[in-house]
């Protein structure tokens, strides 16, 4: 199984510089559907699924390797090496913003620019630091996953069968979007919400843009500002878009902000 197949990597675009898009916890690379095509004229765009998500090779999922974000960052570096990527742009949503930061530290010269959409270096409050969640709340989330109590993994399948209202999404999407192996989703949730990468932020040398949504319960404004203050020379841009997924809810605004930066 090659790295390209393992991570379901596809290339588009005609530009000289590469732009790598990484999806966050919850869905898959289709998150970039409304954004990535806008950059094909100026960049060589790279889409991929993290192992365990979307159409990645589930058999490559190694619980030990993916027990921290470093395993995911190692995959990003491997993809970059495989494609010969240098001085590229990395666009990471949610937890992948931190995965991109770790990858840029691991492989200096691979990513010159980092776009972080809704980043959080730590979700759980810690003394003075406010991540937005108490340890008990995150524990409740992880327990509810254990219970399968959200019913989301099983109930998801019938919900996404067929989509007469949005035919442009195509057949391949309606059957796989947001669908994850429950065991893998459980561990990815644990790795994501228990992560603490605050100490890594100061090591980021790539030029960094933070896109901060309004009303994002998962990565609140003050968390984005914490990231902004910790990464030397970074910029922060506040979006009108509310919620945690502006790449879906406000793609025009995100595209515009990214264009100004790159």
């Amino acid at each position: 199984m090659s790295i390209i197949q393992r991570n379901n990597v596809t290339l588009n675009g005609t530009g000289g510089t590469a732009m790598v898009f990484a999806h966050g916890f919850g869905c898959d690379r289709n998150m970039w559907r409304f954004i990535e095509p806008h950059f094909r004229n100026d960049f060589r765009t790279v889409l991929f699924d993290h192992v365990g998500a979307g159409r990645s090779d589930l058999s490559a999922y190694d619980p030990e390797k993916y027990s921290s974000l470093d395993g995911y960052a190692a995959d990003v570096v491997e993809i970059g090496q495989e494609l010969g990527i240098e001085k590229a742009v990395f666009v990471g949503h949610s937890v992948s913003a931190m995965i991109g930061a770790l990858a840029s530290i691991r492989a200096p010269g691979m990513f010159d620019k980092l776009v972080m959409i809704g980043p959080s270096p730590r979700y759980i409050d810690d003394g003075e630091y406010s991540g937005g969640f108490s340890a008990a709340q995150i524990e409740e989330l992880l327990t509810s996953l254990d219970d399968n109590h959200m019913g989301w993994s099983a109930a998801m399948a019938p919900a996404i069968m067929g989509n007469p209202d949005r035919p442009e999404l195509g057949e391949e999407l309606t059957n796989s979007f947001c669908r994850t192996d429950p065991e893998i989703a459980k561990q990815f949730a644990r790795v994501t919400f228990m992560s603490d990468n605050r100490a890594d932020l100061s090591k980021v040398e790539a030029q960094t843009l933070i896109l901060q949504c309004s009303n994002d319960i998962i990565a609140a404004e003050h968390v984005g500002e914490y990231v902004h203050n910790a990464i030397p020379g970074s910029q922060i841009r506040y979006l009108q878009a509310s919620g945690h997924c502006p790449n879906l809810s406000a793609p025009e605004e995100v595209t515009l902000a990214m264009r100004d930066f790159v």
Partner: protein
């Protein structure tokens, strides 16, 4: 819900279910009415799904009532857009799902219980199997050891006792005589023979112990010595003890070989001794030794005699084996066993070919 997610309208039923007045709900976002786990999931899964496909169906959510208690619901949602694709509003329909959720949770628990039970059962089967295999191995080992022990005791009881009894008798006679007589040197020579036999028996038993309990027979290989001289020395010894037998030889030795000469002599002595003991007394014994250019060695000892039954052949090389018909049973039945151990230590083997005319033992050693 407005395009920004704030709640625009709500019916009285939901207000009643949640125990919240209408004005406490309007302007809030759906996630404000969910527990923390639910709101995270709403943001990471359901909201993207709604945006991507324009609807979701039968999503399980936990809403929080005014008193903090949880009300499980199933939610359907559909976006309404204008002709230009602009989002106008999202309609959310909620179904109370307390009973259903309880049922689902029972199912999950039942499945978990079933999985645990199955795992326990599998563990039990596994450990049972492992335990049985271990028991069988112990019993086999014990059986093997006890057979060996019985044979060993029998050997010590008979074979070592006989020469010892001869020595004892000789000593008794000399002590009774209390002086040197004409008979004394004869008695002493008989006693000396008994000591030699006992010494040979002890050597054999030690070889058995080494090969069974230790890591096999250790070799002291020496390429400088001549294989033909080693073999001729053994033949001379046996010939001297059996002057009336004819031993014909044929040597075709192309090169020197790296073997333990003393051990090969011991092996050959055993094969040749057996041929003398068991072969037809009036027929020749034929020794044939070949070493080819590559260094492969083949040494055969053939004698005329009754054929060895096919079913007996594998038993020949077992420790303490003795042929059924024995005229003078001096050995322990270890000779062929030790010979085959010596062959194996050299990476080779001993085969038996037997037909109406002759019995032939063949040692084959591969080139070193």
């Amino acid at each position: 819900m407005w395009p920004d997610g704030r709640i625009a309208k709500v019916n009285a039923t939901l207000c009643d279910w949640l125990g919240r007045p209408r004005e406490a709900i309007l302007g809030k976002r759906l996630r404000d009415l969910l527990n923390v786990a639910g709101s995270i999931f709403y943001e990471t899964h359901f909201a993207p799904m709604l945006r991507m496909q324009g609807y979701f169906h039968e999503v399980a959510l936990d809403m929080v009532r005014a008193d903090g208690s949880i009300m499980p619901v199933l939610a359907n949602a559909a976006e309404r857009r204008d002709t230009s694709g602009e989002l106008l509003f999202t309609r959310l329909t909620l179904f109370k799902a307390t009973e259903r959720r309880q049922y689902e949770r029972d199912l999950v628990e039942a499945r978990a219980a079933e999985r645990d039970a199955r795992r326990q059962l599998e563990d039990m089967v596994m450990s049972l199997q492992a335990g049985m295999a271990e028991q069988v191995a112990i019993v086999m080992e014990e059986k093997h050891n006890s057979e060996l022990k019985e044979q060993f005791v029998a050997v010590l009881g008979h074979d070592l006792r006989n020469p010892l009894a001869a020595i004892d008798a000789g000593l008794g006679k000399i002590l009774r005589d209390q002086q040197w007589t004409d008979r004394t040197p004869v008695i002493l020579n008989l006693m000396k023979n008994s000591v030699s036999r006992m010494s040979a028996l002890i050597d054999n038993v030690l070889d058995l112990a080494r090969s069974r309990l230790g890591g096999g027979i250790l070799l002291n290989r020496d390429e400088a010595r001549s294989l033909q001289s080693t073999l001729e020395m053994v033949i001379a010894e046996i010939q001297a003890a059996n002057p009336d037998r004819t031993i014909s030889t044929r040597f075709q030795i192309a090169r020197t070989v790296r073997i333990d000469h003393d051990r090969i002599a011991q092996l050959f002595s055993n094969l040749l001794g057996n041929a003398v003991t068991h072969g037809a007394p009036d027929k020749d014994i034929a020794v044939d030794c070949t070493v080819d250019d590559a260094g492969n060695l083949s040494l055969s000892v053939a004698n005329a005699g009754d054929p060895i039954p096919q079913e007996m052949v594998p038993l020949l090389f077992q420790p303490f084996h003795r042929g059924q018909v024995r005229s003078n049973a001096h050995g322990l039945g270890l000779g062929l066993y030790i010979a085959s151990e010596i062959a194996q230590a050299h990476g080779g083997r001993i085969d038996v070919e037997s037909d109406q005319n002759e019995i032939r033992f063949i040692l084959r050693l591969p080139a070193q």
